[in-house]
Symmetry: C2
Subunit: 278 residues, 2 copies
Amino acid sequence: MPAISPDLVGIKGDPSTYSWDAKDAMLYACGVGARPYDDLDFLFEGKGPKVLPTFAVIGGMAGMGVMGQLEGINPMLILHGSQAITLHREIPSSGKVTLQGELTELWDKGSAAVIGITTTATDDNGPLFSATANIFARGSGGFGGERGPSTKGVNAPPERAPDHTVSDDTRLEQAAIYRLSGDRNPLHIDPEFAKVGGFDTPILHGLCTYGFVGRAILKTLCGNDPARFKSFEARFSDVVYPGDTIITKLWVDGKEAIVQAETQKGNVVLSGAKATFA
Amino acid sequence: MPAISPDLVGIKGDPSTYSWDAKDAMLYACGVGARPYDDLDFLFEGKGPKVLPTFAVIGGMAGMGVMGQLEGINPMLILHGSQAITLHREIPSSGKVTLQGELTELWDKGSAAVIGITTTATDDNGPLFSATANIFARGSGGFGGERGPSTKGVNAPPERAPDHTVSDDTRLEQAAIYRLSGDRNPLHIDPEFAKVGGFDTPILHGLCTYGFVGRAILKTLCGNDPARFKSFEARFSDVVYPGDTIITKLWVDGKEAIVQAETQKGNVVLSGAKATFA
């Protein structure tokens, strides 16, 4: 197993396959707060179901195995720093893709390493989606790499009122439902584990927040049509607790929008964010 | 296929098998409103997970195939009249049972037939649970059978204040989650289908209400220990809408309790109900 080194950029994991069906898609939709009856298309097989574009992160997660090739990463100390997805086509109700994970970025922030992993998903018709996760690995910096670009000011909201604001409640049980789509980290359900991790109570998955915000983008910019959702990138900047309200603000410029999300407490939880649509 | 006749009592379906795992048990728990952190045992594999006793209805449903042997039943016109479960042992986190369905009751109510089907579930250690569903088949009565006993006054609450009252909110998305455990009747999710069925909006599954009330029984009478939950029978007497609050009232007498549930509107939705516990 190689120690972290700048030379590792470009290494790939073993390809794997990922299959999903209508139940997986609907369970994911419940996990990210899809509601009857506005989001019926995503909750009812009688309407397909359609698949939320951010479902790409579920397949994307399965391609993260490439990280297992890195020595010196403490799984207890990693945080999800940012997430991007690109949709090449609408995700079908059920399907099977080949996933290929690749280490696409590696930065040395001193105390931490930032590891970017891009997973591409391909089905019989070609590329379907790609998902890039940036992982902040505390305690794994100092390996002599470059610091990398600053994220400061990237996708900063313009100084005017947002064009759209969408407010959506998470439920106390939101993480309990979301985790059934695959991310079983006890940090999101077990109060004792959360305390060890430094939190008063379990916290919501960053990718659950990402899904809520993705729904707001889909509704306001794409008329709830997943085929019009092209990409979404965002940084996780603060913690969301199950039960919080997620307030998504969108500033539209042509076929792009700057996105920011905060909770009812006013803290910005998702920032440096941009969506593109058709 | 035999027409409905009193002679049919005792016919059995083909045995089938039913398997479940921790995810199925946790998804069911989410479906019937289990909450962090009171119900953590049922939502987190780190605690087993434990399995809610009313999960027996999910396996029980799979044994209902015996009804397919009856001629003259219109699936669009059937209603779930009542449900009973008996737990012989605590349901394990994952398992596999052989299910045997049997037509155990058949009554002629004039316009409707009442069909009782008991499904017994057996694993390698013997009987695990049984579940009896009484189905009200509109338009299938008048076959010359007996009317059967009246349910009037059965398990009527005593004339005193209940010993326990548990109030629990259902969510607008409750049926969307519950249906992922298997009952995909569009009546519970599709507004257009619900209108055809005579309802303004989709209604909650009776068995979802049954699960909410089962949790109230488990918490108040069994200290949340499924091993102490022995049986629960109830009639579905009115409609619950997703978003309603379910208020369960319990009158305890030794190791039994009379149970009744109503919504915030005061209408009794579950009646003639009794639970036994150890």
